[in-house]
């Protein structure tokens, strides 16, 4: 009994301590844009860097902020901005690569929805000239392997041609066909087939 009480008290003490530490941390942490990494630098730390002992006794700041603080804060904000931008780019890349275009059975012409998706992709590519794109043409499992390889190539090439007409440099676009070899959905029904007749897009820097 006694041991148990002690244990409970210890746990409670620990929880209180944790709560205190966390709340003090939370106070120091400035809001970070969603998904971004938490700041690496503590804003109160002097610009001198980690692990370095203060050279003299810490100066008392009565009101306002020191120049060191301002500098550290500016750097922190810049870093946060950079992280947010990086995250935004990652999100965009993920969205770009996740958004596929789909085809009808035995067809390689672009449907209106596919054109809309490709217009978005062209805009993005024009804004990010440092990226190239690889278009992968795929088919459903029905039909002949060789014909499907050719059909997959045509599907990739259809998307490529459209991106080129929208102003994307041809040299930035490569194509490959996987025919029916890489189904997105391995089932053998209409629903799966519709998902498998697709172009996928991979960004390469």
């Amino acid at each position: 009994m006694r041991h148990k009480t002690n244990l409970v008290m210890m746990v409670m003490a620990l929880l209180v301590a944790c709560a205190f530490v966390m709340s003090s941390c939370a106070k120091k942490q400035v809001k970070v844009s969603k998904g971004a990494q938490p700041a690496v630098q503590q804003p109160t730390a002097p610009a001198g860097g980690e692990g370095q002992q203060p050279t003299a006794a810490p100066k008392k700041v009565e009101a306002g902020v020191t120049p060191e603080y301002q500098k550290a804060e500016a750097e922190r904000q810049a870093r946060l901005k950079e992280l947010a931008a990086k995250q935004k780019l990652l999100d965009e890349i993920r969205e770009f690569e996740n958004e596929k275009i789909y085809f009808d059975f035995d067809k390689s012409d672009l449907k209106p929805e596919a054109r809309a998706v490709l217009r978005k992709k062209a805009d993005w590519l024009l804004k990010h000239p440092e990226y190239s794109v690889r278009i992968e043409g795929n088919c459903d499992e029905r039909g002949t392997n060789e014909y499907n390889l050719a059909l997959g190539q045509r599907r990739a090439d259809s998307a490529k041609k459209f991106l080129v007409t929208l102003g994307v440099d041809e040299a930035r676009i490569s194509t490959i066909s996987y025919g029916e070899e890489r189904p997105a959905d391995p089932r053998h029904n209409e629903e799966a087939w519709a998902k498998n007749r697709r172009d996928e897009f991979k960004l390469i820097k």
Binding site: D106, R142, G143, T144, N145, E146, Y147, L149, A150, L151, Q153, R154, D157, T175, I176, S177, Y178, E181
Partner: protein
């Protein structure tokens, strides 16, 4: 059945004058509308050597020969449970009680024996006409015990050669795509699916194997370098080299009948077209140029024409191109998906066609005419390929749920599954017997 054999024997006697020394030539016309199968009994082989040596070969030789004869489509082997054979009945003409065999309906009887010598075995087989009580063939072969299937296939081949005057398919081989490892790899096996061995083990996607006309080399497309390139592998040395690695597609190769050229689909001009290259990979000629997809070339036996698939009409159909004048003619008009043409040595084209949502195998005269349907109501049937002699077709079918290989006669009879294994087997190529 009895009468069939007699008719055949009558035909045979007519042939005696033409083919003097080997009297036993029975002419079987496999292109006849229907073939009555001969009932054949294959007795367990006798161990003519020491009793304890390889006793299981007794059953194995009989099983392989019986299986061969069944796959040939000319025979209907009788289940050994029906045999009335006296256990000690010998394998010579004098020792056989033919009544015991004719009474169970056997028109032909195969008997044989073997002697083990170290790691080799000598095997002898004899073929008897049970109604006439005559021996019509006797053959003896020596080989390694581990190659007992090959020895049995050779004996079966002698039986077919005796009865038809031509070699069988029993010593031929198949190349195909197998998914057992979870990847697509090329394997080569005996014609009956046994003795399979891996040709590729790249852990990638290997497709469309094609034996050279002499059977010593195999072409295939593989993604092992990340994109579809055409590879040529020497089956004896195992040496493999890239034959075509142009930008885009390098797929669906077909050998020219002389084995000196390869037709394949390239997309270098921005559109899948068929080109002819030499064995150094140089382009000799562009064979099609069209806005649509052109794939799957297959040459006529004289090499003057080429069947291929094109969707220039809006759907994939089979066309025949006369190479001399460049003229292409559409061959198939039924349905809107006809692909995978294979041109036989006996001048017939086999292909697969989408028929009410599933794929079936058809044949057609290269000059046109009515297609003949060979498979029906049994899953999807695809990738047909002729045997080197043009008498049989190997194809893949998912009639049992997953894709496996099957063979049938040129008119669609005697459909038999031949491949086994955990994975799926597709895209067969049929290579000749290696001398």
């Amino acid at each position: 059945m009895k009468s069939t054999l007699h008719i055949v024997l009558l035909v045979l006697t007519a042939f005696v004058s033409i083919v003097p020394p080997t009297w036993a030539r029975i002419y079987i016309d496999i292109n006849a509308p229907s073939i009555s199968k001969f009932k054949v009994a294959v007795a367990d082989f006798h161990n003519l050597g020491r009793a304890h040596e390889q006793p299981e070969l007794s059953r194995k030789f009989a099983d392989v020969i019986s299986h061969d004869l069944d796959l040939s489509g000319y025979f209907s082997p009788i289940d050994r449970k029906a045999f009335l054979e006296d256990k000690d009945e010998g394998i010579t003409l004098e020792a056989i009680n033919f009544k015991n065999w004719s009474v169970i309906g056997a028109e032909l009887l195969v008997k044989g024996g073997y002697t083990v010598i170290g790691n080799h075995v000598e095997v002898v087989a004899r073929l008897f006409d049970t109604y006439r009580g005559k021996q019509i063939m006797g053959k003896r072969f020596l080989g390694r015990i581990t190659s007992y299937r090959w020895l049995a296939h050779r004996l079966s081949n002698e039986i077919i050669r005796m009865l038809t005057g031509q070699d069988s398919m029993f010593l031929t081989r198949l190349g195909y795509v197998d998914t057992t490892t979870g990847h697509k790899e090329i394997r080569v096996s005996d014609y009956d699916g046994y003795n399979s061995r891996a040709i590729t083990s790249d852990g990638s996607i290997a497709l469309s194997p094609r034996f050279s006309p002499d059977g010593t080399r195999i072409l295939y497309t593989s993604y092992k370098d990340g994109r579809p390139k055409l590879y040529l592998r020497d089956l004896r040395s195992g040496v493999c080299r890239v034959l075509s690695q142009r930008k885009g597609l390098n797929i669906g190769a077909a050998w020219t009948p002389d084995g000196k050229g390869v037709a394949l689909t390239l997309s270098i001009k921005g559109n899948p077209d068929i080109f002819l290259i030499d064995l150094n990979g140089r382009i000799l000629k562009r064979l099609t140029s069209n806005w649509g997809i052109d794939v799957s070339p297959s040459f006529s036996p004289d090499g003057k024409k080429m069947a291929f698939v094109s969707n220039r009409s809006g759907s994939p159909q089979i066309y025949v191109k006369t190479l001399e004048n460049g003229h292409s003619r559409r061959l198939t008009f039924d349905g809107n998906y006809n692909t995978s043409p294979s041109w036989s040595r006996l001048n017939r084209i086999v292909y697969t066609s989408m028929n009410h949502g599933s794929f079936d195998i058809f044949t057609i005269d290269p000059g046109g005419g009515e297609p003949r349907q060979l498979t029906e109501g049994a899953g999807n049937n695809e990738d047909p390929c002729w045997s080197p002699d043009g008498k049989y077709i190997v194809f893949s079918s998912n009639r049992l749920g997953r894709y496996h290989l099957y063979i049938m006669t040129a008119n669609g009879q005697n459909q038999r599954r031949i491949s086994s294994g955990k994975g799926e087997q597709t895209a067969p190529s049929w290579g000749p017997a290696i001398p």
